[in-house]
């Protein structure tokens, strides 16, 4: 009996590992393609798409897998690290000067966003958490991670933020660069 339980545990553990491997393989496959094609945040968006695709129940035997939460936390900490090393003494001093106007500007934008939050809740029957996270102008990785933690509809949040990122980098930024240069 104990041997059966142990064998069962080992089998379950192996199944879980294979599921994690499948997710990472799907993520790195699509992510690498988008990254090589120069798509903005290609690895991030591509790994979302790739992991989602391999995790769908294409056959009856297929069961969804999940990544251990510690893996996401390590990824987010590294994202923070990569941003943190960009800061210099100059940027901190300059930031101190402009911090208050920037804070006020984004609080004003947040107030404007409440209009869209209300539209999403009333017309599209979206729950408050999903509606707020969908329009919050934060980083893609940060906001979608919060969406997972708070049980929001990740697809809705992700799709709106992907549209924002693509619009900005593929349309607005080239126009800005043309005008400013």
């Amino acid at each position: 009996m104990e041997e059966d339980l142990t064998a069962g545990d080992a089998g379950s553990h192996m199944t879980r590992l294979l599921g994690i491997g499948k997710l990472l393989l799907g993520g790195v496959s699509v992510g690498s393609v988008l990254e090589l094609l120069g798509v903005p945040a290609g690895m991030l968006i591509g790994s979302v798409v790739g992991a989602a695709l391999v995790n769908q129940p294409w056959t009856r035997r297929m069961r969804p897998s999940s990544l251990p939460i510690v893996a996401r936390q390590i990824g987010l900490t590294t994202v923070g690290l990569a941003a943190g090393v960009l800061l210099t003494v100059d940027s901190l001093l300059n930031t101190a000067v402009i911090a208050l106007p920037v804070v006020l500007a984004y609080l004003a934008l947040t107030a404007l966003n409440l209009v869209f939050v209300t539209v999403l809740m009333s017309r599209y029957q979206v729950d408050p958490v999903t509606a707020v996270l969908a329009v919050t102008p934060g980083g893609l990785a940060e906001v979608t991670s919060i969406a997972i933690d708070k049980g929001a509809q990740v697809a809705v949040v992700l799709s709106v933020h992907a549209v924002r990122l693509f619009s900005l980098v593929l349309v607005i930024l080239p126009i800005l660069l043309l005008v400013l240069s």
Binding site: L23, G27, M43, S47, V49, A51, P57, S66, A71, R72, I74, G75, L76, T77, V79, G80, L81, A82, A83, G84, L86, L87, T88, V89, N94, T95, I98, P101, V102, V103, A105, Y106, L107, A108, L109, L112, N113, F116, T118, M121, S122, R123, Y124, V126, D127, P128, V129, G138, L140, I146, V154, V160, R164, S167, L168, I172, L176, L177, L180, S181
Partner: protein
């Protein structure tokens, strides 16, 4: 090798700060702790570390894969449904970013180009790269985006509370129950 030790030091600082932030229940402790810890070690010891692109990509892979694993079969139908209102919200956010950029320039707070690149809510890397390519001060752009991230993320609990109140007061039926609380 010369870059490896400073990088390891920054990574250790980042991890330590993240764990401290977690203990203190600071919102988004992995990112905020990781950022503060890395900045503290990097600046405190004058290391000037550059994170290899491979590490950044691995981090994005972990985060993206974790997100992708949560997406259910009906997700793609929802994507089509929310594309129109989402695009409208995005247009407003980007338009507001341009307006603020113009206002900052008009008030003399920032140079016009730096103001635009600092206040458009996009990826920090893209905005900084564009700014540096045009010969502008990347430090200002980075700082503005960091302030944006912290402002937006730390004000999130209040915004969620307001959204719930709006729904309760003006949208939901009195008998309606369901996931509302943030």
């Amino acid at each position: 090798m010369t870059q490896l030790l400073p990088l390891l030091a920054v990574m250790a600082g980042s991890a330590a700060a993240a764990l401290i932030f977690r203990r203190c229940r600071i919102p988004l402790w992995p990112i905020t702790g990781g950022l503060v810890g890395a900045a503290a070690i990097n600046l405190g010891f004058g290391l000037a570390v550059q994170v290899p692109n491979l590490i950044v990509l691995l981090a994005q892979l972990l985060v993206g894969t974790a997100i992708g694993a949560t997406i259910a079969p009906d997700t793609f139908r929802q994507f089509r449904r929310f594309l129109a209102p989402g695009s409208l919200a995005v247009g407003a956010v980007l338009g507001a970013g341009l307006l603020f950029g113009w206002a900052f320039a008009a008030l003399g707070i920032l140079d016009p180009a730096e103001a635009m690149l600092s206040l458009m809510p996009g990826g920090v890397g893209e905005m900084v790269t564009a700014g540096v390519a045009l010969g502008f001060d990347g430090a200002v752009i980075i700082g503005a985006h960091m302030v944006r991230l912290f402002t937006v993320l730390l004000s999130l609990p209040l915004v969620l509370w307001v959204a719930v109140k709006i729904r309760q007061r003006w949208i939901a039926d009195p008998d309606e129950t369901g996931p509302q609380q943030p």
